[in-house]
């Protein structure tokens, strides 16, 4: 692998770190090592893949699909297990090194101690706020539940209102009403239908007559009444 080429031309701000001036500290070296391992793995995977001998007889499509799915799931599980195990090993070594470093009692270890204290202080603060957040969320959830209850209660109430109104109307209608009151109500109803009909006919007449009713204020006033539903005017 040839060394990273010199960065020709002005390195945009984004690339400062990859420039020649980047001091190759341990972290970048570690990262590069990881990169190369990953690239090596991929290259070797393709090499193996190309060596695979393909089965001569044709396998029907569905079988391939199901096997690929199983293999994918299996690979996923193996990957997770691999990652958990590497994590364990890395953390064991890391902590062991950290503990030894702290034991040496030089200014580095003091620095580690300082940062550790700071981390602890921050963690306790986080824990506290997390606890408060949990309580707050609890309250919020209760409020939400109450809101939903109220919503339903409101809905039911409105239904009740409508039903009672309808019942009231029916009662009124079916109330033991004198013959005369009934007759009055019927012909009132008939009158209403007549008027709506007349209104409509009148509208059509005006339209048919092609007269410019807006110019004559009285006609206009009438026209504007023709849509009003008849009730106790």
């Amino acid at each position: 692998m040839e060394p990273p080429q010199r960065e020709p031309g002005a390195a945009a701000a984004g690339d400062a770190e990859a420039g020649p001036a980047a001091k190759l500290d341990v972290l970048t070296l570690l990262r590069l090592r990881e990169q190369m391992k990953q690239q090596l793995m991929e290259c070797s995977a393709t090499v193996h893949a190309s060596e695979e001998s393909y089965p001569d007889h044709i396998i029907e499509e569905k079988l391939i699909k199901t096997t690929t799915e199983d293999l994918e799931r299996e690979m996923e599980e193996v990957k997770v297990s691999f990652q958990n195990k590497t994590l364990v090993l890395q953390r064991i070594q890391l902590m062991d090194a950290l503990r030894n470093k702290v034991k040496q009692n030089d200014d580095d270890s003091r620095l580690i101690l300082e940062t550790m204290k700071h981390i602890i202080m921050l963690s306790t603060a986080i824990l506290e706020s997390q606890q408060q957040a949990r309580e707050m969320e609890e309250k919020l959830n209760d409020i939400k539940k109450k809101r939903l209850l109220l919503k339903q209660a409101g809905g039911n109430k409105l239904l009740q209102i409508h039903t009672t109104m309808k019942k009231q109307k029916k009662e009124l209608a079916s109330m033991e009403v004198g013959e005369m009151l009934e007759k009055i109500r019927n012909n009132l109803q008939k009158e209403k239908e007549m008027t709506t009909l007349i209104q409509n006919i009148f509208q059509n007449i005006i339209i048919g007559s092609r007269v410019n009713w807006a110019e004559d204020p009285s006609l206009k006033a009438i026209v504007l009444q023709l849509e009003k539903n008849v009730s106790f005017l």
């Binding site: 602890i120 963690s123 997390q130 109430k157 109104m165 009124l172 206009k220 849509e227």
Partner: protein
């Protein structure tokens, strides 16, 4: 060639005849404008318009007013000049309310040639508002139908586009019959339907009109605009309209915006630019003037014409005429909550459904209404507006992203108020998420996601999870965390909604037909599995970032309590890809949260076990033995790590941390066994160091192995004192203390 007579009088300037009808200042006195509005008009008119432009408009208007008929455009220069002035002023600042009456009458009276009429109609762009009287008189000219068919069509299209600008709608409603009569004209039918759709009220639905629509439909076939009108009639009077209508009609009406919409937008933008204080629209409320005329006036109920005192009159009359059909209470006059309560039984929603979103009174009403038609009309309008204004789907509305954000914010607040998601919003998300770049209006969109309603037949998988996952994997750490947070809120909203539905089991509406319990449980489970999958991948992509871990565990904090707190028979353990990085995390907060979660899982599982034994089986839906087994594996691993330092042999989870000794020896660490107990755990190292400093102040060799026996318990108490409550709960619940002295506590709860 004898000279045209007109060029002679071009010499002396046209004097403006001050007859009452055209005198523009006289106009304002006539109308029923209350002082506040006219002051506002005069003020806006003087400030904006300089003298010369204004009077040439007046000249033009008065010229049109008295022009004789049959004047041909080509020969008559004066007519051309005036027409040009009208057009230029209309395009620059829009026409003042007074000009409409004259221009409409001229255009529709058929006096002039069609070319002039079309140009006149096309320049009818309102600066602020259109007086209703001018519209009424133009409708009457329409009835006279002296002008050609195309002019009538153009007039109707104009009326639809500027419908929201007409100051009052009372008289327009009164002319419903007249508009209805224009239905039989083949070409005008679609636009007249649209106009009627805007004008229809409960009382305008009449049997003979329904019959008329049905014959039209029979004659012209299933036209979408007829369909829309019929479906609206059906909503108002279901008993009258018997035929069945197809469910959701995608686009009801043809787009009739024409040239006016663009001009109105430019004027609106210009008004906004040069007057920072957004000029409140004539409609009374000084609500923030947003760009899109469509949904800003929609968000404001048009000021009603009837003044409030007439309302008092209605009150006494009201309770007497029980016989009268429930004539609906005009919602525009709704001012106080008590009014709402009194008239709640016959309240009718305004024609512009958008205004509901910002009117708290109507929201209260909507909160308890169960009437499908209200929601249908709101969804239709909201879906339409969201579709048009989406700033990353429609490039040219991108510069109005701010307004679109406000609009989404309004919708979100309404959903929070109603504690319920809008299905039109859900559809909009499904349509626009695949095209979303994860950047535009991010916080609003993610908040809207939290209110996607829970229904067992939703195709969340293909519509929400896929686009979200594609964005999730290729986006920054912060986007990942915000997505996890909104999915957590979505889960909580679902669970809250479910809990209430469950309680109201009694009333039948609890579980409406399409949401069965098992259906809901599957949908919730699908969401939890989805989050588990994307969290595992995210941890791998972001190499176990603590910040990300916090949000993932936060999500599982809700999941672990589903059974106890939300009464949903469902318990899903976090996948191994989430559990182990959390268990081995370098950060004490994550470890503590994991312990808390495992403790909650334990209580839920125990409670489910007991219920299972006592109650009958029905609750037992998702509780497969697999969940218990997974829980036990995790507990063994956890106790093995934290307490008995035996995880590397005992962990039976396939993806666990079981490692044989040679591998562990390769790490060249002597006692690797104890490297994850509470003393040596990476997350606990800080606490151990501080404890050592306190316990052995003089000895600064930090010998960790000193912490054993009694010191171990002191250390434990020290940890509890540091606020690690989760750890405390976990240890006290999962590790039964056989004896205080012996260190190797073996204990896990075989559940």
């Amino acid at each position: 060639m004898q000279r045209r007579q007109s060029s002679k009088n071009s010499k002396q300037p046209l004097q403006v005849r001050h007859s009452n009808q055209t005198d523009l200042s006289a106009w304002r006195k006539g109308g029923r404008t209350d002082p506040e509005k006219s002051l506002q008009n005069r003020q806006s008119r003087n400030s904006q318009v300089n003298e010369s432009k204004q009077d040439s408009l007046e000249q033009a208007v008065s010229y049109f007013e008295k022009v004789q008929d049959r004047v041909s455009l080509k020969k008559n220069e004066v007519l051309q000049k005036h027409l040009a002035t009208v057009e230029s002023i209309a395009l620059q600042k829009g026409l003042p309310p007074e000009a409409f009456d004259v221009l409409l009458n001229v255009a529709l009276s058929g006096k002039l040639a069609d070319a002039v009429n079309t140009r006149l109609l096309k320049s009818l762009i309102p600066a602020s508002v259109i007086p209703e009287t001018s519209v009424v008189s133009s409708v009457s000219w329409l009835c006279v139908s002296k002008c050609s068919g195309s002019i009538q069509l153009l007039f109707v299209r104009w009326l639809i586009t500027v419908f929201d600008f007409i100051d009052h709608k009372e008289q327009l409603h009164a002319l419903y019959g007249f508009f209805f009569s224009f239905l039989q004209d083949e070409k005008m039918c679609p636009y007249v339907c649209h106009l009627l759709y805007l004008l229809t009220r409960k009382e305008s639905v009449k049997p003979f009109r329904i019959r008329r629509l049905l014959d039209l439909q029979a004659k012209m076939g299933m036209q979408p605009h007829l369909q829309a009108l019929l479906s609206l009639y059906k909503l108002f009077c279901p008993e009258l309209v018997s035929i069945t209508l197809p469910g959701k009609m995608k686009t009801y009406f043809k787009n009739s915006e024409g040239p006016w919409k663009a001009a109105i937008n430019t004027i609106r933008r210009r008004n906004q630019e040069n007057s920072p204080v957004s000029q409140p629209l004539f409609l009374g409320t000084a609500q923030h003037q947003s760009r899109k005329r469509k949904w800003n006036t929609q968000l404001v109920i048009p000021a009603s014409s009837a003044n409030t005192n007439s309302l008092a009159g209605d009150k006494e009359k009201n309770h007497v005429d029980l016989y009268s059909t429930s004539e609906s209470f005009p919602v525009e006059q709704l001012q106080t909550f008590s009014q709402l309560l009194q008239n709640i039984h016959h309240l009718e929603f305004p024609s512009q459904m958008g205004s509901v979103l910002t009117n708290p009174l109507l929201l209260h009403y909507m909160n308890c209404i169960k009437d499908e038609s209200i929601y249908l009309r709101l969804y239709y309008w909201m879906g339409q507006t969201l579709q048009e204004e989406c700033s990353w789907c429609v490039v040219d509305s991108n510069q109005y992203e701010e307004e679109f954000k406000d609009f989404l914010e309004t919708i979100y607040k309404t959903e929070c108020f109603l504690q319920e998601g809008f299905s039109s919003c859900e559809e909009f998300l499904y349509k626009s998420l695949p095209l979303w770049d994860g950047f535009c209006c991010r916080s609003q969109i993610l908040r809207l996601v939290t209110w996607i309603p829970l229904s067992s037949f939703s195709e969340m998988k293909s519509h929400l999870y896929d686009p979200l996952a594609q964005l999730f994997f290729t986006s920054s750490l912060y986007f990942k965390c915000s997505v996890l947070e909104s999915l957590k809120e979505l889960l909580q909203n679902w669970l809250n909604w479910h809990v209430i539905q469950l309680d109201s089991e009694s009333d039948s509406q609890g579980y409406s037909l399409n949401t069965t319990l098992s259906g809901l449980v599957n949908v919730v489970a699908e969401l939890i599995h989805f989050v588990g999958w994307i969290s595992t991948v995210a941890l791998r992509l972001e190499s176990n970032a603590t910040f990300l871990l916090y949000f993932i565990l936060d999500f599982y904090e809700t999941v672990c309590d589903i059974y106890l707190r939300y009464n949903l028979p469902l318990l899903i353990m976090p996948p191994a890809g989430v559990f182990y990085p959390a268990l081995l995390s370098m950060d004490s907060v994550s470890l503590n949260q994991l312990c808390y979660i495992m403790y909650r899982y334990r209580t839920n599982l125990v409670a489910a076990k007991e219920n299972e034994l006592i109650k009958k089986k029905i609750l037992q839906f998702q509780f497969s033995s697999q969940t218990y087994q997974e829980y036990n594996q995790y507990i063994i691993a956890m106790v093995g790590c934290l307490w008995t330092s035996s995880a590397f042999q005992k962990d039976i989870h396939p993806q666990g941390v079981r490692l044989d000794d040679e591998v562990l020896k390769k790490t060249r660490v002597q006692e690797f066994k104890t490297s994850f107990n509470i003393v040596y755990h990476p997350a606990m190292m800080g606490y151990a160091l501080l404890f050592l400093q306190q316990a052995w102040p003089d000895d600064n060799t930090f010998n960790f192995s000193l912490i054993k026996g009694r010191k171990w318990n002191w250390y434990l108490q020290y940890l509890y004192a540091q606020g690690l409550k989760g750890l405390k709960l976990f240890i006290e619940s999962s590790i039964n203390r056989v004896s205080r002295a012996s260190q190797s506590k073996e204990g896990n709860v075989q559940v």
